[in-house]
């Protein structure tokens, strides 16, 4: 099996952590199979990068914990977040989980470079 470059785009608000966690599971599985994976948060998806809202000690790992685990799956690069999406939602001054901020004009090239784009 050849390797492909995947871009996982998170565009929806994480109304429940469970759904976000499932999407992250999918992303981490790609990484576990040694695929090149990038994560991009845009539109309402950027809300996922707000620091932990509520994580129960006995519950499953929170999305924030899963995001923090990305390097252990070989994803050395932090997730990408679109600057304009943050600005439009008044989140540009907020403290966020570690992510690299990119401009909207860079998104098209990212989409074009990926072999597989998964909109989640």
């Amino acid at each position: 099996m050849d390797g492909r470059r995947f871009l996982c785009v998170f565009r929806r608000a994480p109304h429940t952590d469970a759904v976000l966690r499932e999407h992250l599971d999918l992303t981490l599985t790609l990484a576990a199979f040694e695929q090149a994976v990038e994560l991009l948060f845009l539109d309402d998806g950027v809300y996922a990068l707000l620091p932990d809202r509520q994580s129960l000690p006995e519950g499953p790992p929170s999305p924030a914990q899963l995001l923090a685990a990305l390097p252990f799956y070989g994803l050395e690069q932090p997730p990408l977040v679109e600057r304009e999406s943050l600005l439009e939602r008044g989140l540009d001054g907020e403290k966020l989980l570690p992510a690299r901020h990119i401009g909207r004009h860079e998104v098209a090239a990212l989409l074009g470079d990926a072999d597989v784009v998964l909109s989640l």
Binding site: M1, D2, R4, F6, R11, R12, A18, V19, E22, H23, D25, L26, T29, L30, F33, Q35, V116, V117, L118, S119, L120
Partner: protein
């Protein structure tokens, strides 16, 4: 009816469905698959994840006038040799399937893991997600 337009020699598809069967996205996914198959393209695998696993609930007894998406997928899978796989973790979380009780999923579907989705992504020439 969808018209599937691809350039070059792209003839195989893998589909990811994250949406529940009543959603517009779920119907779009089915119409896409049916159109692709109808035009001679091959859909190698459809992976049901998240809310999409509800597709594999056995359809209620006949009587209603509406044919469920579950039945239509099963027919397409049979006619065009499409592999319908649902994520075991997502299905178990929603009570659609249970490994322990042996609860069966709808005919035509099988339970698998995320690895099978990765495999499909690597085999297919085009991958689409319906979220």
């Amino acid at each position: 009816m969808y018209k599937v337009l691809v350039t070059g020699n792209m003839v195989t598809f893998a589909l990811l469905i994250n949406s529940a069967p009543h959603s517009a996205q779920a119907h779009a996914a089915f119409r896409f698959a049916r159109a692709a198959v109808g035009q001679g393209y091959r859909v190698i695998r459809v992976f049901f994840h998240g809310e999409g696993v509800y597709h594999a609930l056995p359809p209620s007894p006949p009587g209603g006038s509406e044919v469920s998406l579950t039945t239509r997928w099963a027919e397409l899978a049979r006619d065009a040799n499409v592999d319908l796989v649902l994520c075991s973790a997502a299905a178990e979380r929603r009570g659609v399937w249970s490994g322990e009780s042996g609860r069966a999923v709808a005919e035509g579907f099988r339970v698998g893991g995320l690895g099978q989705w990765v495999e499909a992504c690597l085999q297919a020439e085009r991958t689409l997600s319906f979220t």
